[in-house]
Symmetry: C2
Subunit: 340 residues, 2 copies
């Protein structure tokens, strides 16, 4: 039985998209699980009672499994993370996260300001010992199974040791969320040979070879969409947050643009093409858990659709049920014990 708190006010299309996503998750998740909609309760109630009421009432026990948690403060896109933490304790972000630290919730999901969510999650949950910053693990669709890429933007100048930490965090993510056994870790670089790459990547390669991980060597940009390198399938793609963020945002732009171009072509039934291309839209996958914090905080794309929100809630539930946070703590302790 898990209680998932959702930031009802966060995201470009909130609260419509967040509430619709919550209802979609409620109908899909097992009946033992509940959702806490955090935000301005009168706004949330208005949306629930109006457009969505019919859908809502058709679900079994929906009203029992949906709680509204009042959070009157509103975060704006220009609010700095420090302002959110110190000045807006009653925002949906802070209230939602605090539910977890006080034992009233098991996970938090938001499509609001990523910077504020990272900072607030780190301050409220604290980091596992040995970590200096959390990392963002993002699921990327590939021609094979999805992979988790990290870091996707939380850490820009990374040391070789930090890249190894990402490999550990990603391994647990792949085990617990993607349900892979002995996940294969690839290091993003500019050639398959160990001597290819920038200084940090070359040193990380040597450290990863010695670490207690299933390291399968470097992978190149062309391997990411394939979901494999020359040695076989990959589950975890390790890179610094600068490269990861550039690549993720580039990838997110591909399917929408291809679709727009093909829609303009005469004689193409783009409705048949759309599902084929949409499966390659990372923003539709939804839900990047902030890895390294001692709690569950799932970051969504600002432009999240109801489907993306629903998917993020599923990710949060898997993180809770698999006890991912505990596993990460154990994995990091193993790493420091092994001296890598």
């Amino acid at each position: 039985m898990a209680r998932i708190a959702l930031d009802a006010m966060g995201g470009d299309h909130a609260p419509q998209a967040t509430i619709a996503g919550a209802l979609s998750a409620l109908s899909e998740l097992g009946q033992a699980h509940s959702i806490q909609l955090v935000g301005r309760s009168e706004v949330i109630r208005k949306h629930l009672d109006a457009g969505l009421a019919g859908e809502f009432d058709s679900m079994v026990n929906a009203r029992e499994r949906l709680e509204i948690i009042e959070a009157p403060d509103v975060i704006t896109m220009t609010d700095k993370p420090a302002v959110v933490i110190r000045g807006k304790p009653k925002s949906s972000m802070m209230v939602g996260l605090t539910l977890q630290t006080t034992g009233k919730s098991d996970a938090f999901v938001s499509a609001g300001s990523t910077g504020a969510q990272m900072a607030a999650s780190t301050v409220l949950f604290k980091l596992h010992p040995g970590l200096t910053r959390p990392a963002i693990g993002t699921i990327l669709p590939t021609a094979r199974k999805p992979v988790v890429m990290l870091d996707a933007g939380a850490n820009v100048d990374c040391s070789p040791d930090e890249l190894v930490q990402f490999a550990r965090l990603g391994t647990v993510y792949a085990e617990d969320i993607l349900v892979r056994s002995n996940p294969a870790v690839g290091l993003l670089s500019i050639g398959e040979e160990p001597e290819k790459g920038n200084a940090a990547v070359k040193e990380a390669h040597q450290l990863l070879k010695k670490a207690d991980l299933n390291f399968v060597g470097n992978m190149e940009g062309r391997d990411v969409l394939q979901g494999e390198n020359r040695r076989g399938p990959v589950d975890v793609v390790v890179c610094d947050g600068f490269v990861g963020n550039v690549l993720l945002k580039f990838y997110e732009s591909v399917a929408p643009l291809m679709l727009a171009i093909l829609k303009k072509k005469a004689g193409i039934d783009w409705r048949k093409i759309e599902p084929g291309l949409r499966q390659f839209d990372p923003s539709e996958v939804g839900g990047a858990p902030l890895l390294g914090v001692r709690g569950v905080s799932v970051i969504c794309h600002g432009a999240s659709s109801p489907r993306a929100i629903k998917n993020a809630i599923v990710v949060a539930l898997r993180a809770v049920e698999s006890q991912m946070t505990d596993h990460i703590g154990k994995r990091l302790m193993q790493g420091s014990g092994a001296g890598t």
Copy 2:
């Protein structure tokens, strides 16, 4: 009147693809221009006389405009650049480049080993004063006009000054090859704000603001395919060679994969889709001039098709006709004079 030397033996599909590309270029270029096919002459002659003879003979003055230059040494994919330079002076790469240093040719094009071509071009042509390494400028198709991205893999750990040099090199490239006036330079980063990015990018942003260039600020991964950032169209995308190489190889994998996926879907006429997707295949654009060397050396993708080879020859011709190498020298001198 330009003489373009083509490495007939370089590339995964050589000499078939290189010779076919040369013939295609001969028929497309003005009759004043000639091509020098560099490689093992008996092999080249056999291919010309056999399968391609019919196509060849139908062209006006083709035989007068096509010269075969003997180069008996063969470069293997495992040859280190130093081995090529010192140990294989009669390879097609070394002979083709030397034609230019001895005044017998105006440009060199190869789909062979990129590392060997970079090293050999730098040794034989020398760099413009003030540069420590050359950069690879690659054309990327976008939803608008193509952009030039650099560096695409020659320089992995870049200083802020080197990123500014890439901006200068790319500006001349955009003027001379893409025929843009006052090219707009974007700096690849992880947010539009100047304070977003890794350490080198943040400092480069400040230097670029003061440089005598049309700097339009940061661009994000999602802006690349659009060919614009929030401030408008972009002509030059500046990044270090690690990020650039990862992004280029990722981009190159997109169109082929999308096509493969859509081909498998029932009810989709993929032949109608193919041209729409193929326009977003950077490997079909063909031809990345090595920027910063005092000569014209155009690098092609190893897997270049005849069309890509033909396109690269066109790029080489534009570089010659526009006197790009001289312009780069002048632009770099302006830069050092302005104290940036």
